[in-house]
């Protein structure tokens, strides 16, 4: 997969995923005059590239990690992060003050991913539905207590990889990036309620996988 890098491609990036302003005139003005001044277009504050550097560089590892999980391939992840940065830099002026910068960046990354070939393939595969959320919020039997604690990180990693993509991403944002529900909602462009139900389902599934794998290992005697 390759990401097109032209401005026109970025302009085609719209509709639901309209987080980078695609207005050509806006962009031209912005290039000519530098970042948009405060008060420009209502709440648009416009971020300076200088600030962008300070805010974005620390997000590089988290974004790359997320990209690797999404793409499953180092080269694709790399391209995805670069394309995200390109789009974010172009859309700096459209960044609204008070919006969460981290969620904004993750959102651009994910939307860019969804327009890539791997992302399109993913969209065409069935997604796990969120029905039965209530049922999944059950109490957990005590025997598993400490079992998960003993699961090694490689095993948990394999179990996360087994999760459907929409479960995986909500889990990664909430528990790896330690985002609040509203941030996850912003990044994934879904309501907070959906974040909560998806997260509960994702955790339930993950727990199942982990316990299953640990059970298998135990009976097979792999674990010393």
């Amino acid at each position: 997969m390759r990401f097109a890098l032209t401005t026109t491609r970025a302009a085609g990036f719209q509709g639901k995923s309209d987080d980078v302003r695609s207005d050509e005139k806006f962009r031209r003005d912005q290039t000519r005059m530098g970042p948009a001044p405060v008060g420009f277009r209502g709440h648009v504050s416009g971020l300076q590239s200088k600030d962008f550097e300070k805010l974005a560089l620390p997000l590089l590892d988290p974004l790359y990690n997320f990209a690797r999980w999404l793409c499953g391939d180092p080269d694709e992840a790399r391209d995805l992060v670069q394309e995200t940065m390109t789009k974010a830099l172009r859309g700096l002026g459209s960044f609204r003050e008070g919006t969460n910068f981290r969620a904004w960046m993750f959102r651009i990354l994910r939307n860019t991913f969804l327009t890539s070939r791997t992302g399109l393939e993913r969209r065409n595969t069935e997604q796990e539905d969120e029905d039965g959320f209530e049922d999944s919020v059950v109490t957990h039997e005590t025997p598993e207590l400490t079992l998960i604690r003993r699961a090694d990180s490689e095993l948990v990693q394999r179990c996360i990889a087994l999760l459907p993509a929409n479960f995986q991403e909500v889990l990664l944002l909430a528990d790896v990036e330690e985002m609040k529900y509203h941030e996850v909602a912003e990044a994934l462009d879904i309501p907070v309620g959906t974040v909560m139900s998806r997260l509960a389902r994702a955790r339930g599934k993950l727990r199942e996988h982990v316990l299953e794998m640990m059970g298998t290992r135990k009976t097979q005697g792999i674990r010393a």
Binding site: R68, M85, T142, A151, E154, L171
Partner: protein, 252 residues
Amino acid sequence: MSCEFIKQVALYADDEMDRADQEKMAAHIPGCMECTSTLANHLDLKKAVRVSGKSFSAPPDLHAAIFRQIHQDQTPQRQGVSAWWKWISAPVTAVLLAAVVLLSLPHTGSKDKEDALLAELVDQHVVALSSANPVDVVSETRHTVKPWFQGKLPYTFNLPEVEGTPYKLVGGKLTYARQTAGAELLYMAGQHKVSVFIYQANSRQEKPLHKFRELSFNCTHWQQNGLEFYMLTDAQDEADRLATMLQEVNRS
């Protein structure tokens, strides 16, 4: 039978409750076996995901590429470059960028090789700027940092005393450029990071301080006593004295 609070344990574990509910929960949990074990399960799972999910970190050359990307967007005359360089793998990009710099800088007498080296040093300085752990030996005193390199490099160098100056030593690490090991020292000049690279020189020739720009960085190069020095920083002139201090303590 289920505790009425059980459904809120996840919210509690995720720290998503308002103050009042949180306090209520905190008071309830210790006395309730069911909630206690559910909370423990939640926290265990969260921790497992946090540890296992953080599996990949961006390769160093991606740090450098992104840094360039940001800075190229700032300098309009380089915007033509940003369109194509991304299509090429990073090592090639470094060489090509060096070639662009070679054309655009009055860098007379310098070899392509030196420019490729410079591109590598810029990458490493960028890594130092963006990395959480930029050095391998963390120390503010030269008496710790200098001996750390002994036995790791086939040559020695001296570090100046920076106490009472505007500079602070952060630490050092081994670095590889041009397939040779060298020393990278990280200093702070006020808010600016300064990377000093020390390599074994190819000749005994002495070269005076030479200041120039490489991408958005101020670079100072000099050669003395069989050692070659490169200083990279985004500071303007704040680090000039540090170069002079290094030069002074490394005279033969």
